[in-house]
Amino acid sequence: MEIAVCVKRVPLVGSAFMLTDDSMSIDTSRIGATLSPHEENAVEAAVRLVEAHGGSITLFSVGGADAEEQLREQLAIGADRAVLIDTEGVEIDSKATAALLAQAIKDDSTDFDLVILGSESADSGGYQTGIRIAHALGRPVVTNVKGLNIEANRATCERAVGSTREVYEVTLPAVITVLDGLNIPRYPSVPGRIKARKKPVDKVSITIPAQTTVRTTLRVPVSTSKGATDLGTGPDAAKALVEVLKQIGVMQ
């Protein structure tokens, strides 16, 4: 089974968001980067499928040259090669990003049975890249997948609704977008990391496409800080806490 996985590098934000002076982006000078969580699940799903059915995994990413760090990490986990569509740091809107990814997938020498993405990216949360790629490739797409099983060219996908699950079935080739919770992603092993150094990361240069969505500014919304009441420590604190529970009406 030939699988493409689309992954995006995003800043690793901890307790607060710091913006650059021009309020146009997150100040990443003092923080690291990571992969969007859903995409970690996407790579893990691909690795498990290849373990079960054979085949190979190609990663696709639209981003700056530094995205190679995240691609190498996922190559260490089990992907075979990567294609980095280099934007030289220019941010690209969802519609154009999907078009670039779809083109790269079409242009690739491999015919992919399955394209896996996250259902939404951590930073942008556009909820659309997988669906747009599916349309561009003329393939069916199942989104928000939290359970996946593939047998003989048919993918059975589960998706949560309330406390139950809906089941979808789709014939490959197809596009699937997944959610955190589909699986527990593994960590790269030391041999995995060593192998990953030699795996190919092809850089593709592009002319920046025209955009229909253009950022004018970013803002940190007004803080929800409340100035907490300290209930103390030890047994007194437990008593005080139960008094609060009574006050707010949650003690039946």
């Binding site: 901890g14 659309q128 669906i131 699950r165 604190a237």
Partner: protein
């Protein structure tokens, strides 16, 4: 005119759709809703349309599609694409729910238009000026969008649903839907409803993080949740370690909750966790670290070890109940 896609599950309308109707009404009082269903089964059109009318739908377009089952996203999108043409709507709006985002993304892909998810406000113009969420609402982004028709979803709970009864005149609409459009559809439902309180509906959530020390640490949280008629939540660190199932994860990539009480135990308060619990009416945090971020977002704090405090809390609850 604003067209609003109604997200419903077997006729039960997602309450976020009422927020989306209110949002659309604030842009233009001429709001028309679209109700897509599978012809009879599970969808009481009259009742659902009456609810949509309560929140300002002047017209409810009813699209019955044979073979739609519970839901078939591409088929719903086809109907909306045709309705956009036949009604000449200026915008297509929906709730930012799984189905709302999915169907609108299909419409945008089919018609090659931009799609803006998770909006707080829209000012229609050339370009349209839109404020939307990034990082699950931890950042607000202002964007200029160039499009003949706005396609957008509304950030959950950013607009309060307010009734404004309107006519809600039913209009049947027949969409041209092919077999191909129905290829992806719900074919089955599994897992009967557990009967327990689910996270989105719980009034009390007792939530644990890495500070609970391991899966056994959650026993006391279950006991406290049980005593208060609530349920257990957790952080991503906890689900990634396999201590608890992902269905209990609160946060950006978990469930977003707004209970009366959120008791955060051994949780640091990362932005991605707070994105899921900061709408709680009362937030109480127990943490050994007085400087943990969660302490700044709590209404009440206890600086201390969960292993010492929580058994005392459970005792106090039981004592005051008996």
């Amino acid at each position: 005119m604003m067209l609003v896609f109604a997200d419903h599950d077997r006729g039960t309308i997602d309450p976020l759709t009422f927020q989306a109707l209110t949002f659309a009404r604030n842009l233009d009082p001429d709001v028309q809703a679209v109700l897509v269903g599978g012809g009879g089964a599970g969808l009481d059109v009259t009742a659902a349309a009456a609810e949509l009318a309560q929140y300002g739908a002047q017209i409810v377009h009813v699209v019955e599609i044979a073979g739609y089952s519970d839901y078939a996203p591409l088929a719903a999108a086809r109907a909306l694409v045709e309705l956009l043409v036949s009604t000449g709507a200026k915008a297509l709006v929906a709730a930012s729910s799984a189905r709302g985002n999915e169907v609108l993304a299909h419409v945008a892909a089919i018609t090659d238009r931009p799609f803006t998810a998770d909006c707080y406000s829209i000012s229609i113009g050339d370009p349209h000026q839109i404020v939307r969420a990034r990082w699950a609402g931890n950042l607000h982004e202002e964007v200029d969008v160039t499009a003949d028709v706005v396609i957008a979803t509304v950030f959950p709970h950013s607009t309060e649903a307010t009734p404004a009864p309107a006519a809600g005149t039913l209009k049947e609409f027949t969409a041209t839907v092919s077999e191909h459009d129905l290829a992806v559809r719900v074919i089955n439902r599994i897992g009967a409803s557990t009967g327990g309180v689910t996270l989105p509906e719980a009034k009390v959530i007792v939530s644990g993080g890495r500070g609970m020390g391991g899966p056994e640490g959650f026993t006391i949280l279950e006991e406290i949740a049980g005593a208060l008629g609530g349920t257990v939540g957790c952080t991503r660190v906890v689900t990634s370690a396999g201590w608890r199932p992902h269905a209990e994860q609160v946060g950006q990539t978990g469930t977003k909750v707004a209970p009366d009480l959120y008791l955060a135990c051994g949780i640091s308060g990362a932005t991605q966790h707070l994105a899921g619990c900061k709408n709680s009416k009362t937030l109480i945090a127990i943490n050994t670290d007085a400087d943990a971020t969660i302490m700044n977002h709590a209404d009440y704090i206890i600086v201390g070890d969960v292993n010492q405090i929580l058994p005392l809390v459970l005792n106090e609850i039981q004592a005051s109940k008996s």
